[in-house]
């Protein structure tokens, strides 16, 4: 699993445009609606900060644990969420359990939905205009982040910042 890829968020780059929400809902649900999007942007207009929130691909997913019918599971290869709509009863247990607000219920079907990384080609990442979203192995993205931090601190220490 060390090569498992996930969606890394660089919040300082998020413009709050919500292109990701549109890409997600149109691609996955054939309709344009934030309410059907697996990723949502929290905006703070007055000061301009925005922050995208999506499925965290938890190693111990509570949404799966609380599902009473077994409709909510994890793909053993991809590590992404699967909802079996045949047996989902729309009880919203997963919505209540997810600490990130990343699970939802479709107003079209009444069934749960969850991010499946668009089967390995997440459309939100593809269309993010500011490259705030990155799709890469966990280990690689944290390496990048460490290095960016190191560069920043060192340049400040040397008075170049």
């Amino acid at each position: 699993m060390e090569h498992q890829r996930f969606i890394m968020i660089n919040p300082d780059k998020c413009t709050g445009c919500r292109t990701c929400e549109m890409a997600c809902s149109l691609y996955n649900e054939k309709e344009c609606s934030p309410s059907l999007s697996r990723i949502r942007v929290v905006r703070n207009e007055a000061i301009g900060d925005s922050f995208p929130v999506g499925c965290a691909l938890c190693s111990k997913p509570v949404c799966v644990e609380v599902c009473p019918t077994g409709a909510n599971s994890i793909d053993p290869v991809m590590g992404t969420g699967i909802i079996n709509e045949e047996i989902c009863v729309g009880c919203k247990a997963c919505v209540r359990a997810c600490p990130f607000g990343a699970a939802g219920i479709s107003y079209k079907t009444g069934k749960a939905f969850k991010c499946n990384l668009c089967n390995g080609d997440p459309q939100c990442v593809k269309h993010c205009p500011s490259n705030c979203l990155e799709y890469a192995p966990v280990e690689l993205t944290v390496r990048h982040r460490r290095r960016a931090l190191a560069d920043d601190v060192i340049s400040k220490l040397k008075g170049e910042g």
Partner: protein, 658 residues
Amino acid sequence: MSINGWRGKRIRFNLTKGTWAVEETPYEYRRKWLGGRGYNSEVLYNNVPVDVDPLSPENVVCLGVGPLSGTFGPSTGRVTVTAKSPLTGGFGDSNMGGHWGAELKYAGYEQIILTGKAPKPSYIWIDDDKIEIRDGSHIWGKFPRDADAIIKEELGDKDIHIVTIGPAGENLVRFACTFNDCYRAAGRTGHGAVIGSKNIKAIAVRGTGGVKIAKPEEYYKICSDWRETMRTDPMAQGLFNFGSLILIMPCNYEMGWFPWKNLKYGYHPDARNISGEVWAKKHLRHKEGCFSCAICCGIVSEVREGKYAGDYTGGPEYEAAVPTGPRVGIIDSETTLHNAMLTNNYGMDAIEAGASISWAMECWEHGLLTSKDTGGIDLTWGNQEAVEQLLHDMTYRKGFGDILADGPWRASMKLGLGEEYLTVTRGMSLPGDDPRGLGFGYGLSFAVGTRGGCDHLRSLCCLELSGYLYPGLNMKIVGTEECSKPLTTIGKPKMVYWEENQKAFVDCLQVCCFNTHWSYGCRNEHLIPMINAVTGLDFTEEELMTIGERIYNLERAYWSKMLSGKHEDTVPKRFTHEPMPENPAASSGKVLPLDEMLPEYYRLRQYEPETGFPGDKRLRELGLEDIAEELKPYRKKYIDLHEGKKGAKPQQQPKKGK
């Protein structure tokens, strides 16, 4: 049959009675007027007679979105706000970005129509299909961003989107504007005052529905391709990196249309102080994107040190930064940002506010105004103390500021002075774009625009500015590549005619013109398949351009009924008769040869040569038979008015509303 694209409903409020009705928009109506600007213009034309005082309850405010709003398409969150303008007395609309438009669509509506006047300060709360008019007395007087925060707290949801006005709108400043998401302004023509006159402070919306797409896979593919184009386009990338302030460098150092001192000069050696490049280093707090935008030219700025440290505000973009900066003789970024914050907080159109002050300053320079007139305010160019004082006094209608709060055109008439220093067409001031340097196509569109002297947004002649980057484009549209040069009249009438019609239907879709109109990527060949994929209909380019022309003629007919026509199709003498003062840029010594372009433009538009009214035959071809009939008596009136009176006073105005 299910509708795709449109939600097919609108809400008409009767604020006097505190009631509302949700109306369906039938298929024929949608096909004729498309959405946003088209809906709004139709409602204004047919509901507000030309003799109505814009600040009376008889005026109507419309906020409209279109079939692409709230979809994956290019920047689809825009909203057109339309009302009879208290600034010009004529047709007025303006367009804002942000996320409110998409939210309205998700709530299930394309348009909100406000009629009458609420008995007390109120705000409107649209929660999907639950609608409420709520007490707004506690937010009356607040700045837009503060009112926004209070309403979100009160309704217990910080993800809703809210249209607000500021104190200037409440105090009926004739150029007050309308905001959404705190800073996204529909700046021009003063509908903030109209909303204020109706005792409405805000319109909060929560929409949890969606927009159905007829051919989702196809739409996804078209939008994806288009977004990919934008990623690599140099102009789109420039706007992403630096916002529209990126214009400052070419505008000043190459082309020479920097609006220094009331647009008298087109150049200043220190203009780079406020350029996007410098701004990004000194003031950029965060990048900010409108709904579903691939460019994200928006910014939130802050001042980090000095006298104004701690100031922050949305933007400013180019047109909001220059009026209370260079236009009044200020050339440092901190002060410019501070003033932009003030206009945002007070809730007024930065362009007209700056134009008012800069007009007064030029009158002061020539001794027409003295401290006796201004109540002791020293209007020397660049006097920041005076600018700050006047922005405040205009907002709260105090002293000399009370006179300027009616805009420079009315102030000039009231005081009986300074007409030669006005930068006004049809009652509204030109923005920070000097046509002697920006381009003669822009100059023509300033003269003929259907909302007064703006109007770089009625035609937005990007074909003349950036056409050279896209060889073949002008050949295809205008029939010559010569028109890719700004300072020539060749091909400009056709360019303006085409751009105006195209912009009109794009405004109905409520797609941002930065995404469609600058010459990159998304022009008609992208837009038309988009509309058809969303709606499932079979629009052709011809039909859409006809819709644009129909709307344009309807707006023009409104002015015609006000007896505003050919004689008002002009720009201030400054641009046609005063050669641009010597400078190292391209504009040096230039004037705008407007008269060379007007006849051809009239011919293309099929306007009547003697009145400048829309031609009877063309109106009928556009499906506007009623208007053709209605205009008949006005033709004679107009000719009588101007018989033997060349250069007569501009359009007839109702007296000041108070």
